[in-house]
Symmetry: C2
Subunit: 367 residues, 2 copies
DNA sequence: TCGCTAGGTTAAATCGATTTATCACAGGGA
DNA sequence: TCCCTGTGATAAATCGATTTAACCTAGCGA
């Protein structure tokens, strides 16, 4: 069955196409209420749906937003970001055109061209983890960067990323507040592929320990692959330290590594959090809440970042201030893997210092 | 800067727009090679990108595919399906318009209308887990169902779902082949929200045990929430059984429940797979490969289902045979959580029967 | 010289809407 | 009678491409 056109509605209502257009779009005009009703009825009867193509062509506005991402599927996070962006788009009558480039620069070029050809009203450039990206040369100047920030910031591109430094501060503070003074940092490997989030979180950790007057033992800083295996191996290094240098708590780069920390602890017969406190990062639903005991961790605000990016892209939200990069807070999700250090250690700690960082009272509710 | 139009190219090359169109589209015509080159150079110089809107309007073909899904982000699986669909689309020069309805029927109606207005060339209706869905009335007849199948199959809608029954067979066979005869089935809760996959996998399990001449003890069938907690509780019921009825292996509805089974085993001091073999389902990357020991499980072929759906939607792949529903194989991913039953039990088994289901020799490589 | 063919190119119609500018008509005042 | 104003509706241009149906010029054979 062929498409119902506006002229079909006009014929059915016995008016011109102009009248139909005016009526259906509620455009200011002097069409009588009687005619209006007739047009609306006709449109309903013939089952008219205006062509978005024709309308877009004429109006030069397509109510369409392009999202370019390096990889949709690598992490479950991607979904949260997309969902946030998608929800905002839907609520504003916009459709999302999604292109996964698979990280291929050539595909990316083609994708940007294709979105241009579609005349998308806005463009979002998303990465699947917090990173600094080279700006593709043909990317529109008003594109919004999601979970990444442009390398050459001269272009004044707007972007939103998690505040990993503040998240690192929050995580470390959580452990210090629980009374720990020997706190390990389970890091990813150094090298070119190292995520910038790792350095930011490490900075936050260092800042908190410094503030608390704790001298960091270099042996507390261990590295591993960002996997449960890597985490286990790294934490075993920590547990191999002599009794008086061994951390009573560990801050893991992410939840996968934290899962490895659980394994390492189990193998030594250490209980969590009684013998070892663990805090992760990412709040990966499939790990954090499912571990035994449930993992205290820092959440990455992917959904909200997705929303933010889309709101900015659509011009619903103005970017306040000078800085075009928005850092989004990473809240601590308190579960059951953090507790006070073992009694005898706690006593030592008390003897050694009287500094107190008091635990903030408002408990974050478990989602 | 305003859009570069085809007329700009024509002017730059000193020819008509018709010529430009014919040349750039490689349409059969009698344009001289010299002119062709001039046109191509002009197009390059002025930076021409044809308007997909105008082209789509004229050709009534948009090179655009709509994907409607109930929820993008609930499970990490979604990403795999999208990635599969997306990859096929990209390789065929099609763009994907993605709409997440959030499961809201009203939103869904609007989404379908919007995609119709966009004149998408094809439509995919995706669910985030294998289920039977009511066909939205305004859904195009040629829509393809992904990871779900239409309730009223009279419409001859094409669909692709995982073959959960065969997957159940494969999982149970894996355990039987390892020598187990007391095999628990860790099921989801009964009731209206129960996934159809649960019944299918259960069927497969029953078939295999029947074939192997094993009478199923009703106590082996336990239920729980589809979470690690639920899995742990359910498996604890199994482990509470008297020694001679207690399963030596469990088939868990999914990997999350299998993770709970690990916890239950640990709490009893049982080692995996020495004391208890465990097989899961789903092959959730963040769980299955990260558990200790890594979990043997059955993979859901989400990526391939996504590809299949898109290939069918685009008409690249013809749906063979009568049945418009394609069942996709769920391969067993062998890791380290399945082994032979404990020695004394194995001896009993051998005494009781001499039936052999021999383990298939080709080891599935760990991805 | 005329007609025909082939080669090279283009004018104009079309897709389906929106938007601008105009038209027709009725009533009122001079 | 003529002009003006307000009301209701529409004809035609436009968005930017594709595609159909010519058009023009040479060259060639009869």
């Amino acid at each position: 069955m062929a498409r119902v056109r506006i002229s079909d509605v006009a014929a059915a209502a016995g008016v011109s196409v102009t009248t139909v257009s005016l009526v259906l779009n509620d455009a200011p005009s002097r069409i009588s209420e009687e005619t209006r009703e007739r047009v609306r009825a006709a449109a309903r009867d013939v089952g008219y749906t205006p062509s978005a193509l024709a309308r877009g062509l004429r109006q030069q506005r397509t109510h369409t937003v392009g999202i370019i991402s390096d990889q949709i599927a690598t992490t479950p996070f991607a979904g949260r970001m997309l969902a946030g962006a998608q929800d905002v788009a839907r609520d504003n009558g916009e459709l999302v055109i999604l292109v996964d480039t698979g990280g291929d620069r050539r595909v990316e070029q083609a994708a940007i061209r294709a979105l241009g050809a579609q005349q998308v009203d806005a463009t979002i450039y998303a990465a699947m983890w917090h990173q600094i990206v080279d700006v593709p040369e043909n990317l529109p100047a008003d594109a919004v960067f999601l979970d990444c920030r442009p390398a050459s910031s001269e272009g004044r591109h707007r972007s939103v990323v998690p505040d990993d430094r503040a998240g690192g501060v929050a995580a470390a503070r959580e452990l210090v507040a629980a009374g720990h003074r020997r706190i390990g940092f389970v890091d990813t490997l150094p090298g070119p592929g190292r995520p910038i989030a790792a350095d930011l979180r490490l900075d936050g950790y260092r800042e908190v320990l410094a503030q608390a007057g704790i001298a960091i033992d270099p042996a507390w800083h261990v590295h591993g692959e960002t996997s449960a295996q890597g985490g286990r191996a790294a934490v075993e290094q920590l547990l191999d330290l002599p009794e008086d240098r061994r951390p009573t708590a560990v801050f893991c780069f992410n939840d996968r590594m934290a899962a490895g920390a659980y394994t390492a602890a189990h193998r030594r017969g250490l209980r969590i959090p009684d013998d070892l406190s663990i805090i992760g990062y990412d709040d990966q639903q499939l790990i954090a809440a499912e571990l035994d005991p449930p993992l205290t961790t820092v959440a990455l605000p992917h959904y909200d970042m997705g929303r933010w990016a889309m709101e900015v892209a659509l011009g619903i939200r103005a970017v306040e201030g000078q800085d075009a990069t928005h850092q989004m807070e990473c809240p601590v999700i308190r579960r059951d893997s953090v507790g006070p250090p073992p009694a005898q250690v706690a006593k030592q700690n008390r003897r050694r210092t009287s500094l107190h960082t008091d635990r903030s009272p408002q408990a974050t509710a478990e989602r």
